[in-house]
């Protein structure tokens, strides 16, 4: 069974639909790219999949034992985060917040997991540095490590390379591709059609109020 199945989704705000009749499925191991112009509803789809807003119609069914809190998220940076005083380690640990349940503090297991994911993203050496002093690419890796602390199953990436220089972009794409090969299912919202064609195995195009799925390779 698919990890996520969307049937006849209608998305939008305040009963005004931006996209309608959207049906698609995401299988384990997929690298799905969602492309479309600004305002076409990509981010709305993202927020709906994350449960941050309700669909106006249709349904989203989670399968394969995927729980709603097991969808990791790499958001676009906000203004707050750019001058936030926090170390890399503190931020990555905050990805474990769903794992601690009712306990107030992070235990040894969470700290080990944070350390592991920092190493996976090649950020161990910078773990005590302040987040706001890092380069854009390093910041994205920190947020990826945080998302991996929340889940190893499915990551939603919202324009992960926005604002990065070409070198950092290539590095981040390579890192993301490696995660996919290691078994993490990915849904990436992007402007970058070339990257979508190169890395994704399926592409969902959204525009003019509807969506169409293309299989690139299987």
């Amino acid at each position: 069974m698919a990890l996520i199945t969307c049937r006849d989704l209608a998305l939008g705000y305040d009963s005004h639909a931006i996209v309608e009749h959207l049906s698609f499925a995401v299988n384990a191991g997929d690298y799905l790219c969602v492309v479309g112009e600004n305002g076409s509803g990509k981010s709305t789809l993202m927020r709906t999949l994350l449960g941050l807003q309700r669909p106006l119609g249709g349904e989203i069914v989670l399968g394969d034992g995927l729980r709603p809190s097991e969808i990791g998220y790499l958001p676009q940076q906000t203004a707050i985060q750019r001058d936030f005083p926090a170390t890399v380690r503190e931020i990555v640990l905050s990805g474990c917040q769903a794992r601690v349940g009712r306990r107030p503090f992070y235990g040894r297991a969470e700290k080990a997991l944070a350390g592991e994911n920092l190493a996976r993203m090649g950020m161990s050496a910078l773990q005590n540095r302040c987040y706001r002093e890092l380069s854009g690419g390093q910041q994205q890796r920190v947020l990826l490590a945080r998302a991996l602390c929340a889940t190893q199953k499915l990551l939603l990436l919202d324009e992960p390379v926005a604002g990065l220089d070409p070198d950092a972009t290539a590095e981040l794409y390579a890192l993301i591709e490696r995660l996919n090969r290691e078994g993490v299912t990915l849904i990436m919202v992007s402007h970058d059609l070339a990257a979508a064609n190169r890395y994704a195995n399926r592409i969902l195009r959204i525009g003019d109020g509807r969506g169409a799925m293309t299989e690139v390779r299987s």
Partner: protein, 277 residues
């Protein structure tokens, strides 16, 4: 000078004032970082005016322990402001501005119409700028202040990691199943409690300074959230103690002396940051 201080410290009410003032300074600094970073500082300011209005009503109604009335009213307004943030016709800062100046005006109006006091402008000045109210607390109020301060500190420590997560990235926290709305509500309620407590120390107009200055100073010096939080608490306590001692010895108003100490600390921290780079 030390002799004068020793003489004053023999009075129990001076010792109470120092203890309660230190506790209030400690808890008011804790949420400062969150408020500054979440761009919530204006809510703190608005709520302090609400507390002034509530205090005026309590005065008119002759409620003896006015904290028991002011506290629930302020907490209720905090909840309403946060809830009203989404979906309301009047948005965010406009709603805060409306409520805060409205409460100020109505409070002053009520005091003028119904107050039995012979020294009205003195009373108003005392609740706006604190003057000496920290020295005139009754035993019951001292215990109430101390209990609430300890509760605020305990809540903050218990929810420290959640508050960090919700401050840094609310959407992410929500996506992984943290009840962000609940924590926002908790933050608003705690702020309301802190404001009512701090009103005794510095008066309603100066409360924001007590909440925001230590956080801003600490953010000049430290780079981790934990470092900033601990430093801001330490700075706040130190400034409050220094301010209160100076005001006892020099006879200056307590609230504005503490805020002046906070400003001095901020200038020093900013200078240290400059010097480092």
């Amino acid at each position: 000078m030390i002799a004068t201080l020793q003489q004053y410290l023999q009075f129990p009410f001076v010792r109470y004032a120092l203890a309660v003032g230190t506790l209030i300074a400690l808890c008011s600094s804790l949420l400062g970082v969150t408020l500054v970073l979440k761009r919530f500082s204006f809510i703190g300011d608005g709520l302090s005016h609400v507390a002034f209005g509530a205090m005026a009503i309590a005065g008119v109604l002759h409620i003896t322990n006015d904290m028991l009335f002011v506290m629930p009213v302020t907490v209720l307004c905090a909840v309403l402001l946060l809830r009203g943030g989404r979906g309301a016709k009047v948005k965010g800062d406009a709603a805060v501005a409306m409520i805060s100046v409205g409460a100020l005006a109505i409070g002053y109006l009520l005091l003028n119409l119904f107050s039995a006091s012979s020294n009205l402008s003195g009373d108003v000045c005392a609740s706006l700028f604190g003057s000496t109210s920290i020295l005139t607390l009754t035993q019951a109020e001292v215990w109430l202040c101390a209990g609430l301060s300890v509760a605020v500190v305990a809540l903050f420590i218990f929810y420290y990691n959640r508050i960090f997560a919700v401050t840094f990235d609310e959407d992410f926290a929500r996506a992984v199943g943290t009840a962000a709305d609940g924590y926002n509500l908790l933050i608003a309620v705690v702020i309301a409690v802190i404001i009512v407590l701090a009103m005794n120390l510095v008066g309603s107009l100066l409360i924001s300074a007590l909440i925001i200055f230590p956080a801003l100073s600490a953010m000049r010096l430290f780079r981790s959230f934990k470092g900033v939080t601990v430093c801001s608490a330490a700075l706040s306590v130190a400034c409050a103690l220094v301010g209160m001692l100076i005001s006892i010895v020099g006879g200056t108003p307590v609230g504005s002396t503490i805020v002046a100490a906070d400003i001095a600390a901020f200038i020093i921290c900013a200078a240290i940051e400059r010097f480092r780079h």
